[in-house]
């Protein structure tokens, strides 16, 4: 038989689960001092996450989706983007969002049931897409943004992230299909944390890797250890450079693990083996990077204690800002629907205000 086409999917890992290099580190990321700010960001995210879960447990937040265990992937992706790139998140990539300028109070407002959580006030996030709940639909929006970049001749990249479950969603396929058809500057980051609520990665698809889905659209495909910040950064560097150079889109699969429940509304013990979670803690991203940095003299326990203290304080201030944000007035639900609201909508708005007044004086 003749061969019509051949493909291979590379796998990237630099630091093993104990933080020992398994091969020479890429030149850009060889200097441990350069990685320290990102490590600090990972610690900040984890502190935030624990606080958010606590807020939910005490009734001060709605359902919340934890990012425990995803810190290297999320922070690494954020660190690889330029301000004028565009990011399209799903719903738990706080590490990426923070690097784009989203503030913790905004994340809390969103899960606290307040639309202002999506009105990102600072940094590049101002032009990024909001939180996206319908799985993987954000991938197509990022493709649209990438198409806008291409049509306008801007040297920017659109990045979207979705989960392992998200790669089954038709929108994910549509995004990679159009990225290939138009040769778009698009990076589709698949955050494979092993589970889509209760459905394990193995039940989601017959594909050996999730990265290989990109082959369907002629994209560049990479699988990486998503708990290894160095591998994440290197994979993103390759994908972002290709996109910026006009070489088209990539699917990058980050293999990590959801150390938490799916959300605070979920109880993973119903469907997931405790032993699997325990084993996953041995591979988690923060300890291994700490080991590497400490072994190379770039980080110490004292620094960590001080930084954690600072994180607690910063997050306490954000939580205060969140908790002291008053509920929007009833008319808020009308005020952003149309630029030019129709008269009948304004009449309903007036009626809603009047009803409030009748009821609360």
């Amino acid at each position: 038989m003749t061969v019509a086409a051949e493909f291979s999917i590379p796998y990237l890992q630099y630091l093993d689960a104990d933080g020992r290099p398994v091969r020479e580190l890429p030149e850009n990321f060889r200097d441990p001092a350069k990685l320290v700010p990102l490590f600090k960001q990972m610690l900040y995210v984890r502190t935030f996450d624990a606080k958010a879960v606590a807020l939910q447990r005490t009734g001060k937040l709605g359902t919340y989706a934890s990012c425990l265990g995803h810190e290297a992937t999320h922070v690494g992706i954020g660190a690889s983007m330029r301000p004028d790139d565009v990011y399209a998140p799903s719903y738990r990539e706080y590490g990426t969002l923070f690097m784009r300028g989203v503030r913790a109070r905004e994340v809390l407002l969103y899960w606290g049931g307040d639309e202002r959580g999506n009105d990102f006030q600072e940094g590049p996030a101002r032009h990024d897409f909001p939180f996206c709940v319908p799985i993987s639909t954000q991938c197509l929006h990022a493709a649209g943004a990438a198409l806008a970049f291409k049509l306008r001749g801007q040297p920017n990249v659109a990045v979207a992230t979705c989960g392992d479950g998200g790669t089954s969603k038709t929108d994910f396929y549509a995004a990679l299909n159009s990225a290939g058809a138009y040769r778009l500057p698009l990076v589709l980051g698949v955050v494979n944390n092993g589970w889509a609520i209760s459905v394990p990665r193995s039940a989601q698809t017959g594909a050996q890797t999730l990265a290989q889905k990109g082959i369907a659209g002629g994209l560049h495909c990479l699988q990486v250890d998503g708990n290894d910040l160095v591998a994440v950064m290197e994979a993103m560097r390759i994908a972002m450079e290709r996109a910026r150079n006009g070489d088209g889109g990539s699917v990058v699969e980050f293999v990590t693990y959801r150390l938490s429940d799916h959300t605070t509304a979920d109880d993973a013990r119903r469907y997931r083996d405790e032993a699997e979670v325990k084993a996953a803690w041995q591979r988690e991203p923060i300890a291994r990077l700490r080991n590497w940095l400490t072994a190379n003299g770039a980080w110490s326990q004292a620094e960590e204690d001080a930084w954690k203290e600072e994180c607690e304080q910063r997050i306490a201030a954000e939580v205060d800002a969140y908790l002291s944000t008053p509920v929007q007035p009833v008319e808020a639900m009308f005020d952003y629907l149309y630029a030019d609201p129709p008269p009948e909508l304004l009449a309903q708005r007036q009626a809603a205000i009047a009803l409030e007044e009748r009821r609360h004086g």
């Binding site: 606290g112 307040d114 469907y271 509920v327 808020a332 639900m333």
Partner: protein, 355 residues
């Protein structure tokens, strides 16, 4: 909780006990159950009694569904009968059409109302048409279960009331129970119906109260409205979670000396307009309560039929108490969006000012 008056089959005859025993030996449920438990009970009954029935959806297996509607079913009936699907609603709908066309009776779950849109293509272009397209050679006995509506402080896209997407579609049936007993009986009917049924579940009242629901396999009819409370001054028409608001409003009105009849539409398509018209012919006034955005919601169809058929009965303009013409806001504001007892009572007062 409430008495059902209209078009309801008589209590099971004596021979039913034998039939039940023969049918697998399910005992009468002796303790009251919630609406969602009634759904589980109906699914279990049909899985036991009809081997072509299967349940599919995201997380319906080991996890028993994010709302626990399928809790225990995979353990009891096996992974061949209760299947987790890949995370894609197009897939769920398309597989269900294929399964149904080839002799199975799939009961598919949409995890939340906000996620049904990718299913519409297969439902409208195929499920609803397979019988007419093939002149009856094939048909499509599928059920889509959709947890519906707001009021549970859920995240975005988890609180929609989008039944109007389906009510203009020929070939579909659209059902929405509002009590444990009706949830059980209507779901059995939906599964047994040889045509596609969209079965909306008002999640706000999933666990709101319990009632005795005999596990007797008795279906309720799929084309009747249920009169839940008799009245003479004004007819309150509602469906889904708003039935409870309407009943409470009727209580408030009763204390004021206004007698409100309360009708649970229950099946939106086909609509049993006769029951509504008969009531309005006596009360002369109608308040329609609809959780969905106002304009072009299903309430409009009821009001339209009143305008066509009941003009000479009406002594007051028809009232619609509805969600506003906005998206249901995130949960800090959602209760201000939803129709409330106070708004229903006000509308009834406006109606009472006429005639």
């Amino acid at each position: 909780m409430d008495e059902i008056r209209s078009h309801v089959p008589a209590a099971p005859a004596a021979s039913d006990a034998a039939a039940r025993a023969a049918g697998g030996g399910e005992a009468m449920t002796q303790t009251p159950i919630t609406l969602i438990e009634a759904i589980t009970q109906a699914l279990a009954w049909e899985l036991s009694h009809d081997e072509s029935v299967l349940v599919l959806g995201e997380d319906v297996g080991v996890n028993g569904g994010v709302f626990r509607a399928t809790a225990g079913l995979q353990q009891r009936f096996g992974a061949q009968r209760v299947l987790d699907t890949p995370l894609d609603e197009t897939t769920i709908a398309g597989l269900a059409v294929g399964l149904a066309a080839q002799g199975m009776k799939p009961v598919a779950e949409a995890q939340f109302d906000g996620f049904v849109y990718p299913m519409l293509d297969h439902l409208v272009c195929h499920a609803a048409r397979l019988r007419t397209r093939t002149r009856g050679r094939l048909h499509c006995p599928l059920v889509l279960r959709v947890p519906w509506g707001g009021g549970i402080r859920a995240p975005e896209h988890h609180s929609e009331a989008n039944e109007a997407m389906f009510t203009n579609v020929p070939g579909l049936r659209v059902v929405m129970p509002s009590s444990p007993a009706r949830a059980y009986g209507l779901l059995l009917a939906a599964i047994r119906d040889p045509d596609p049924v969209i079965y909306f579940e008002p999640k706000r009242i999933y666990r709101q109260y319990k009632e005795l629901v005999p596990d007797d396999g008795e279906a309720l009819p799929l084309d009747v409205c249920f009169v839940l409370r008799d009245g003479t001054d004004v007819t309150l028409v509602a469906w889904g979670a708003q039935v409870k608001e309407a009943l409470e409003a009727a209580e408030v009105l009763a204390q004021e000396g206004i007698s409100a009849e309360v009708i649970d539409v229950a099946t939106l398509r086909p609509l049993d307009f006769d029951t509504i018209a008969e009531s309005v012919s006596r009360t002369g006034r109608c308040v329609i309560v609809q959780e969905a955005p106002r304009t072009a919601g299903f309430g409009a169809e009821i009001a339209a039929r009143l305008a066509e058929h009941s003009m000479y009965d009406l002594v007051a303009p028809v009232e619609r108490v509805t969600g506003y013409d906005t998206h249901i806001p995130l949960f800090r504001l959602e209760m201000k969006y939803l129709p409330s007892v106070a708004r229903i009572v006000e509308a009834a007062h406006r109606a009472m000012a006429h005639g």
